[in-house]
Amino acid sequence: MTKSFDFDVLVIGAGPGGYHAAIRAAQLGLKVACAEREAVGGVCLNVGCIPTKALLHAGETVAGARHAAEFGLTFGEQKLDIAKLNGWKDGIVKKLTGGVGSLFKANKVTHLQGQASFVDDHTVKVGDKTYTAANFIIATGSDPARLPGLDVDQDRIVDSTGALVLPSPVPERMLCVGGGVIGFEFANIYTNLGSKVKVIEFLPNIIPGADADAVKAFQKAMEKQGVVVEVQTKANKAEKKEDGVHVELENVKTGEKRTEVFDRVLVAVGRRPRTDGLNAQAAGVNVTDRGFIPADKQQRTNVAHIYSIGDVASNPMLAHKAMKEGLVAAEVIAGKPAAQDAVAIPGVVYTSPELAWVGLTEQEAKDKGYEVKTGNFPFSASGRAMTLQQTDGFVKMVVEKDTDLLLGVHIVGPHASDMLGEAGLALEMAATASDIALTIHAHPTLGESVLEAAEAVHKQAIHIMNR
């Protein structure tokens, strides 16, 4: 690269997208800087993927101890030191963000602390210094969307960041506004820790994007655990009173309104791309009306040497998509033949049971004009699931009828996210249901249910009757 710039690549934002881009660019021999105005690791490590999973594990341990009575293991009085739990979770976050810092050092990525603003298409200002670079990667991520009428105070009305700080004792009555992934992960956490949780969703279905059958089974499992789910319902306004937060709920079909009282209200109604303070226009970079900075398959924006990745670039707003795009942008800058050409981007709700999927839902496949076959296998017929005391859910496979080509895999059940490894690779390798069915899967594993779902596509599952 030309010598007249301070850096070959300057990455803006050190979330999962940004730090993957920075490290890969450095691995490929480029001179790299990464500007970050808050904490290295971005939303994902600090207030997203990681702390939620820590709390989910804690909640599941509580639930697991309760279920142990079924096999004769009982415990005396259970005590949860909420301060210690918050501290443990924060410790994991610190270890991981510290790790990213060390990786920056070891890979010789210059970490610039402060907000980066474009001055022109080869210059940014970070704090009171300016830096030039041959290429930029915009990885500024996203912020929680706000809901008019519900003012987040991070105490009684919280967004996902506030919800991560558990009060002691946990709220008795909790409302999650928004029945997406984040809403249900928190619903699961708070339910397991003792709250009575209601989730409301504006749309007719929870977890938009997931397969209808899977969503149905998932909702049933959540309800079985005590979560109350109300779809086609919105929250109009919230009033904080002595006895709780009074929330006006409206059934959007009937228009019927009623007020319910909660101790904590979580607003989890989506996320918005984050471009504040970036001054993208100074570099001539297009920002859409909705705030996205779109990119092509090489992650290039309309300005050829400026790239955009992760949440700020496009939906779905998921860390692994940001990571992939970060690697692609770095490799393209280094002259490698990379592209964001993924067949499918997996999605996961890390509750118990988990809901995990990759590829097309049955409906999406039909909408795209595919003639499909499907195969289902329930965990209630899995020996491994029985020994884990987790038999809710199933594996569903969506396959093209004539070619047997795998189109999508949808799993509700124990360790569902672990099984996405096989499903994702199968999709990327253009595998058929037969390829999966002919592959030996270890016994007794949860993965056998993936095998059996593939067999079910051909009406040859062994442990169920094939209609």
């Binding site: 047997d404 390798m429 253009a430 595998a431 058929t432 037969s434 390829d435 002919l438 592959t439």
Partner: protein
């Protein structure tokens, strides 16, 4: 794309083919060692086996009239990039 030649035999004798292609080859009586795999390292996919077994059938939609195919002729590469 030109025709894909069968990969040279691997040192350990393994023919690289996906499970469904192995099954199909048995069904069609095709010798996998003679099939040109279109994947990396000559990996054989279902389409490769089908293409191979089409060779020599007069009704097969051949791109151009060619000399009578022999059983060992390399299969045409499938159109899809892999």
């Amino acid at each position: 794309r030109g025709p894909v030649a069968a990969a040279p035999a691997r040192a350990d004798g393994r023919v690289l083919a996906v499970p469904a292609a192995r099954q199909l080859a048995r069904e069609l009586g095709v010798d996998l060692a003679a099939v040109g795999g279109s994947g990396p390292n000559g990996r054989i996919r279902v389409q490769d086996v089908l293409a191979h077994s089409e060779v020599g059938r007069p009704q097969a939609a051949a791109p151009a009239p060619a000399a009578p195919a022999v059983a060992q002729a390399p299969a045409p590469a499938p159109a899809a990039p892999q």
